[in-house]
């Protein structure tokens, strides 16, 4: 086994590197999509929706995205950005599992369940 502290340190470092990389990918993807939507909106001046309105539910945003409406593209990017912390929690769950740190698997699972609950509650309200 060797020094248990050293093992923990090394594994912990791997977790941090993995989460950092994952966040970078998520953030850059979200930014790229927002940039495309925003540039399209500023150049064409067309949001794809009447007046100052915009879709406020997931289905409408997705159908707007498929129709390449600029505002829906921006919203897709914003959704990706909103999801980066959620993905981060999700990935942490597996990383703590791989590290056999079950106490933190439970803690992370609780946070994830609360997050999912908040999205469901949002839909209900």
């Amino acid at each position: 086994m060797g020094d248990p502290n050293e093992t923990t340190q090394n594994r912990s470092f791997e977790i941090e590197t993995a989460i950092s990389k994952m966040l970078r990918v998520g953030v850059m993807l979200a930014a790229a999509v927002i940039v495309i939507g925003l540039i399209q909106f500023l150049i064409t001046g067309d949001s794809g929706y009447p007046g100052d309105t915009y879709p406020t539910n997931f289905g409408a945003i997705m159908s707007g995205l498929l129709a390449l409406k600029s505002v829906a593209i921006i919203q897709t990017g914003l959704l990706l950005l909103i999801l980066t912390p959620v993905f981060r929690v999700f990935i942490s769950l597996f990383l703590f599992w791989a590290e056999k740190d079950y106490r933190y698997v439970v803690i992370t699972a609780i946070v994830l369940i609360i997050l999912i609950l908040s999205f469901v509650l949002g839909k209900a309200g």
Binding site: F41, L78, I107, I110, S118, L121, G125
Partner: protein, 277 residues
Amino acid sequence: MTTTVIEIFMIAILAGVVGSILGLGGGIIVTPALTLLFGVDINHAIGASIISVIATSSGSAVAYIRDRITNLRVGMFLEIATTVGAITGAFIGAWIAPQFLYFIFALLLLYSAYAMIKKSKQEVPENVPLHPVAQKLGLQGEYYDKALGKTVAYNVDRVYEGFGVMYGAGVISGLLGIGSGSFKVMAMDVFMKMPLKVSSATSNFMMGVTAAASAGIYLLRGDIIPVISAPVALGVLIGATVGSRLMQRMKSKTIRKLFIPVMVYVAFQMIYQGWRG
């Protein structure tokens, strides 16, 4: 329209730099800037600031986690308190008048500023006992301080109090859309006696999750205006990337000194706005 978008983008860069250094999420600049300079109503400004908070959090976490400033365990553990708080806050928000929100926000900021002044001479915490719960959860840690040029090891104290303040921070976040970072930093810095840089980085890290918990609700309510939130997101991401590198080279005392005037300034701006109605 293009000019407005560019102006919001520039302010968002500043918000990202300040937010990532101080652990305040950037909502502290975005919310008043949008309401006071661009006449955006408070609910839509809060929607945009939630986006700003998530952008600051994820943008700065890339560097803070890679350089091991963030304490992942403390962050994950305390997120239980902040996410439950955020849900509570988002639902209370629909029944409370905006003027009232301004005043709560202002008072809370003034209190945080006062708590910071009391600690202004300290660089890194010393002789902190390790709380039994902290030991059980392995919350203690260490980080390499680039300003001091050495590794700083630290303990974590008063876990219950910190957890309680974090729940409050979550409620505020859900209510006002700010990451209530000042409260998160306060919970870790003042109550749990962690180093300021670790508190700030961990606060930023956690804030994204808290904000994501309310973001869904705001999005479905139509409070996140795409054309305003887009430049906010982009500017803040750039600012946070720069800020998270700058912060590591700054002295904790300097960071602490930056906190106080920013908080007092915004507090009085908010009182004024709430007064005017």
